[in-house]
Amino acid sequence: MKKIINKPANFVDEVMEGIVAAYGDRVRFLNGDRRILLSNTPVREGKVGIVTAGGSGHLPVFLGYVGQGMLDGCAVGNVFASPSAERMANTIRACDRGNGVLCLYGNYGGDNMNFDMACEMVELEDDIQTRTVRVKDDVASAPAAEASRRRGVAGMVYAFKAAGASAAEGRTLNEVAQVAQKALDNIRTMGVALSPCIVPEVGKPTFSIAENEVEIGMGIHGEPGIEVRPMMTADAVVDLMLDKLLADLPLEAGSKVSVMVNGLGATPKEELLIAYRRVHQVLSGKQVQLVMPYVGEFATSMEMAGFSLTLFKLDAELEALLRAPASTPFFTNENI
C-alpha cells in the first residue's frame, strides 16, 4: 500500500481536520466532535433540516455537500462503515429548528439500522419529527422488480441538491421528503470499475480486477457487479451503461436530463470527458436535451479507477431546484 497518510488508524480524523482547516468558513464540527460536520449557516427559523450520514472513503460524498442550499449536517463513520446511531441523533438534534428533519442517505444495511434507531431516539426523547428517504439509484445492484434493494451511489448528490433547495424555499417536512423522493424516482446510476480500492486499515485491495478486464456495475465499496468483461473502448462502455440506464428510466424525445459522469477516484478528468462526449452524442441523437452537466468526482471509492454515469430526468420543478444557488465545500452551481 502506498498512500499519503500518517497512521492508518488516524485516517478519518485527519481527513476531518483537513476539511475544517480548508473549509472552516463554511463548515464546523458539532461541539468538537470530528465525526459530525455542520454547516456554518445555522438552520434558519421555518426551515426543515436535512441530514445525511455514511462511511468515510467516498469524498465528496457525503460531508462535502454540507453547506448552504444542500445539507445542514452529516455524521461520519469509519471507512466504509456507518456512524453510530448516537452520532446521527446528535446531528439531527443540531439541525432541528422545530420544523423537523429529513434523513436522506444511501440504502445500506448499517446506515439504515442506525438511522432508524437515531430517528426513534430523537422522536422519543426530543419530540423531533423526522422523515426518511433512502437513495437507491444504482440500477446494477438489483433488478427493477427488486428496486427497493438497490444501493445508493452518486445520484444522491442530485437528491441532496433537490431536497436542499426545496427546504431553502421554506417547504414543509412532508413536502421536502416528497420532492426528494420525486427527484430519486427520476435518478438512475450505474458504474464500472477498472481497479480496486484499498481501505487504509486493511492495507491491501479487498478484491481484484484483472489488468485486461472491466467490472460492469461494481458498487462503491467494491460490491460485485453484473459481469466482468474484457476491457472495452470508452464509447462501448458508455453505450452499454446507457442501455441499462435507459431500460430503467426511459427518456423520450424532447425530454430534458442532467448527466453526471463521476470519477471513482483514480480516473482522469480527460477520460470522464471522453465518456461525457459519448453520452452527449447518444442522447442528443435521441432528441434528448442535456442541461447542467456534472463531470468530475462526486462520489468516489478511494483510489478505485472507473466511473459512474447518472441520469437525472428533469421537469420544470426539478430543474429549478437543481439550478437554485448552493455553496458547500465541494459543490457550487457553476453550470448556471
Partner: protein
C-alpha cells in the same frame, strides 16, 4: 410487577444467560452468518444491565430508552440494532409509568415487535428473531391474567417453539439470505437469542 428494581434483576439474569451462551451463539451463527451473534448478545445485554445497575431513574419508559441506547452502542450489529428498536418500541408504551403489570408488559413488548416490523420491513415467518419475539409477546398478553410467572413461562415456551419453527423456514433478510435453500434445516441464531431472553425472564419471574 415490573418496576425499576425487578427490571434490574431481570436484566442481570438475561446478561448472565447471554454470557453463558456466548460461545454457543457464535458457533450457531458461523454456520450461516458472520459469527458475531454471541459477541453482540453478550456485550449488548451486559451494557443494558450495567446501565440499569447504575441508573437511579424510576420511569420505566426512560429506563427502556437507556437500555436501548446502551445496547445499541455496545452491539451495533444488525441484530443488536433490531433488539435496540424492540426496546425503543416498548419504551413508548411504558413512558411515564413506574410500574407495569403483566398485561402492560405484554402490550409494551407487542409494540416492540411492531417497531421492528415497521423499521425493518420484516415480519414473522422470515427466519429471524421475530419468530421468537412475536409469539412470546402474544403468549404474554394471552396469559397475563394468570400472573407474571405463568405468563412469562408461556412466553418462554412460545419463544422456544417459534425459534424451533425457523428450521423449516427460508431466510429472506441479512447474510443468511445469501444461503437461500441451503439454510433450510438450520434454526435461526437470532431466534435462539430471543428464546434465551424469555427463558431467562421466566426464571426470574419464578423466583
Amino acid at each position: 410487577m415490573l418496576d425499576a428494581k425487578t427490571l434490574r434483576t431481570a436484566l442481570q439474569e438475561v446478561s448472565r444467560t447471554m454470557t453463558a451462551n456466548r460461545q454457543y451463539l457464535i458457533e450457531l451463527d458461523q454456520r450461516n452468518g458472520d459469527g458475531d451473534l454471541g459477541i453482540s448478545m453478550d456485550e449488548g445485554f451486559a451494557a443494558a444491565s450495567a446501565f440499569l445497575d447504575a441508573s437511579a431513574e424510576t420511569d420505566l419508559g426512560k429506563l427502556f430508552v437507556g437500555m436501548s441506547k446502551a445496547f445499541n452502542e455496545a452491539a451495533p450489529s444488525s441484530l443488536g440494532t433490531i433488539l435496540s428498536l424492540y426496546m425503543m418500541g416498548a419504551a413508548r408504551v411504558l413512558k411515564g409509568r413506574e410500574t407495569a403489570d403483566t398485561a402492560a408488559l405484554g402490550e409494551a413488548l407487542t409494540a416492540g415487535v411492531a417497531k421492528i416490523m415497521e423499521r425493518t420491513g420484516s415480519k414473522p415467518g422470515e427466519k429471524t428473531v421475530l419468530d421468537a419475539l412475536d409469539p412470546a409477546a402474544r403468549a404474554l398478553s394471552e396469559h397475563a391474567a394468570e400472573g407474571a410467572s405463568a405468563a412469562l413461562q408461556a412466553a418462554a415456551m412460545a419463544a422456544r417453539a417459534g425459534s424451533d419453527s425457523t428450521a423449516a423456514m427460508k431466510a429472506v433478510h441479512g447474510r443468511a439470505a445469501y444461503y437461500g435453500d441451503k439454510a433450510i434445516g438450520l434454526v435461526d441464531g437470532g431466534s435462539i437469542a430471543g428464546a434465551l431472553l424469555f427463558e431467562a425472564l421466566a426464571r426470574v419471574a419464578n423466583q
